[in-house]
């Protein structure tokens, strides 16, 4: 039986681009706010950053479930086996990181003695107690994981553009249906 689906489901496409925008927003806020002097704005940015992170986590759960329900469309037959492996590994890492990065931020916040209160409304439990040394380690972990995520997002985007402009196949169009020929 051939799978003639040529694009991701509308739900998958919506989730992909929503999470993309949220990750860019969380990165921008995170990089900008970290070294600000203490101010009301800084407290707001930290809260917003955490709310975005929690949202990404929930959307990641939703995406993982949605991916099981709507498997992604197959890659074009022209894609060689090695690239298929690279595709599998990079997507697995992206999925892993959109779970792990928010969790590392949540733990870092808890260890700093600042609980996370989603939207100023729902207080998440603290999985670790206040611990200055642990907080510093978790901060470094959070930064490192984000750097890894950034690297893989760049590879992911570069691969999509390569498929579109060099291979001229329909890989990118699966996620951006208006590109479809």
């Amino acid at each position: 039986m051939t799978d003639d689906r040529r694009a991701y489901s509308a739900v998958s496409i919506g989730l992909h681009w929503t999470v993309f925008v949220l990750i860019i927003a969380a990165w921008s806020l995170g990089l900008y706010m970290a070294d600000l002097p203490l101010s009301p704005q800084k407290l707001k940015y930290f809260s917003w950053h955490k709310w975005i992170g929690v949202t990404i986590f929930f959307l990641a759960v939703f995406r993982a479930v949605s991916r099981l329900v709507h498997p992604p469309p197959p890659l074009p037959a022209s894609v060689p086996p090695r690239q298929r492996i690279a595709e599998g590994v990079s997507h697995a890492l992206l999925y892993l990181l959109i779970f792990v990065v928010p969790v590392s931020g949540w733990l870092y916040s808890s260890a700093s003695g600042v609980p996370t209160v989603y939207l100023g409304w729902v207080q998440l439990p603290d999985l670790v107690g206040k611990d200055k040394a642990l907080a510093e380690q978790l901060k470094q972990t959070h930064i490192l994981l984000n750097m890894v995520l950034f690297g893989i997002v760049c590879i992911h985007a570069a691969a999509a553009l390569k498929h579109h402009f060099l291979d001229r196949d329909e890989v990118l169009a699966r996620m951006l249906p208006f590109l479809k020929k």
Partner: protein
């Protein structure tokens, strides 16, 4: 809590000063600071954050048989504020918050202590922070541990803006709530009465 006239404020400060000068009657209890703590929880954007004061002195004279005769005098070294973040610890010393250069200490002196029953009591008295005085009511419990020492546990709420704590851009209570929960545990014991 309530608005005091200038004369009222002066009177409270005068009373507090007089009480400060009086020697504590009855049996003064030694406080073991290693087992005592004064902490508070403030809320920023509805996020509860706990901080503590690592240096304070407490002079207690508690008599369960005659609670009305009990006295407490507590002085908190505000520069010992610790929220677990060095940057914030330093900022809190500044003019907008505690202004510890001009107001190094917060002081509470009990004006009355009464029994509420079931090992519960209530201390009232002026609390002075940043040169401003407000009457506070602090309910507390008293328990005796295995070695016969007393453990006083209590909590009360204060409004930070009544003490001018968090000025200018920090006045916004949507950002940092006005209400602050203060908790104390005073453990009597034989350790020397010096602060950490």
């Amino acid at each position: 809590m309530f608005d005091m006239s200038l004369a009222g404020k002066f009177y409270t400060i005068l009373c507090a000063t007089l009480v400060l000068l009086l020697p504590l009657p009855g049996v003064a209890q030694q406080v073991d600071y290693s087992r005592s703590q004064i902490t508070f929880v403030s809320r920023q954007m509805n996020v509860p954050v706990e901080a503590k004061f690592t240096r304070f002195t407490a002079q207690l004279s508690f008599d369960s048989a005659n609670p009305q005769a009990s006295k407490a005098r507590i002085e908190v070294d505000l520069a010992s504020f610790d929220i677990g973040n060095d940057e914030i610890n330093t900022d809190i010393q500044g003019k907008d918050w505690f202004d510890t250069k001009n107001f190094p200490k917060a002081t509470f002196v009990s004006s009355s202590v009464r029994a509420l029953g079931d090992g519960r009591y209530e201390a009232r008295g002026p609390l002075i922070i940043k040169g401003r005085t407000q009457e506070v009511v602090a309910p507390f419990t008293v328990k005796t541990d295995a070695s016969g020492n007393s453990v006083f546990d209590g909590a009360f709420n204060i409004r930070r803006l009544q003490y001018n704590v968090g000025e200018r851009m920090w006045r916004d209570t949507e950002l940092v709530a006005d209400e602050v929960r203060v908790r104390f545990r005073l453990h009597t014991g034989s350790k020397p009465a010096s602060t950490k």
